[in-house]
Symmetry: C2
Subunit: 147 residues, 2 copies
DNA sequence: TGAAATAAGTTTCACTTGTAACTATAATTA
DNA sequence: TAATTATAGTTACAAGTGAAACTTATTTCA
């Protein structure tokens, strides 16, 4: 067996995926339990908070979700009364999405939980380590994004 | 709006998940297309290569997969003739799993593709950066593993 | 012993997700 | 301007996934 044999525990894509899965599960617990929000729905709420009046396609761009996932999550949010969907008068194919008052309220309740979780996660790293990790993550991401 | 508002593009769990998803998709292409192997199946092959004669439960431990996923992936591999499943004579509930000759052949074909992909991924980082990223990843993983 | 509890693995059911087909509207161009 | 092409979003179908129930085998301990 060659000495560059494949050892999953050392294989970086696998380790990255392992870490990410744990973190995603923990985060999902924050919104799924008490609030009944899925990860996709949460991502959309966070985007509508920053960018009101955007369309489903724009949500898709900003969240890297495909349009079917966006459609389903937006439907779920509308059904729960957290998002309001209007038809654009400029282009009647497009939707114009916004959080409702109730949506903003829920968003405001979940946001601190999520931010606290991120803090608790990152407090194991020193400021220098965090900054480095940040840069390396960016570097890798820019690298893999070039198809 | 508070200044520690939630901005997904800066939110580390989101960025980690984004990077991981791209990498996982690319990797999956390496085995799914030509070889018809799923990511789960591939993980199991890689484990059986290093640890012959293990049981489904042991595969589960080593891959962090749940037992249902292991059961299904092993069934798929047996059906394709890549893995051989015997009943343990010491404990007839347990299975004893091994790659077949054909399984080893396929494994040997996929392995270099996967290793090359990892190399192409990491060659954007200097040896120092890589070593740092490695350490930080470990540190974060150990941190989140403590429930 | 033998009844109850535990363990390995599979099957089932409900839910999620991805791909492709479809509907409705808008833009293009012959 | 009418026919074609492209776009936004939804629906339908198939495949994947997770939780719980189930089957068979083993262990525990009264």
């Amino acid at each position: 067996m060659s000495d560059n044999d494949l050892v999953l525990e050392n294989f970086l894509p696998y380790r990255l995926s392992y870490l990410t899965n744990i973190i995603s599960r923990r985060l999902a617990r924050l919104y799924s339990g008490e609030f009944g929000i899925t990860a996709h729905e949460w991502k959309i709420l966070a985007n509508l908070n920053r960018h009101p009046d955007i369309s489903a396609a724009e949500v898709g761009e900003k969240t890297a979700m495909d349009k079917v996932a966006v459609s389903r999550a937006v439907s779920g949010l509308c059904y729960k009364g957290l998002v309001d969907r209007k038809i654009s008068q400029q282009d009647r194919r497009r939707s114009v999405l916004n959080m409702t008052a109730e949506g903003k309220k829920i968003y405001g309740q979940i946001k601190p939980l999520v931010i606290d979780y991120e803090k608790s996660l990152l407090n194991i790293l020193s400021p220098q380590e965090l900054s480095l990790f940040d840069q390396l993550l960016d570097k890798l991401t820019r690298h893999v994004e070039t198809d």
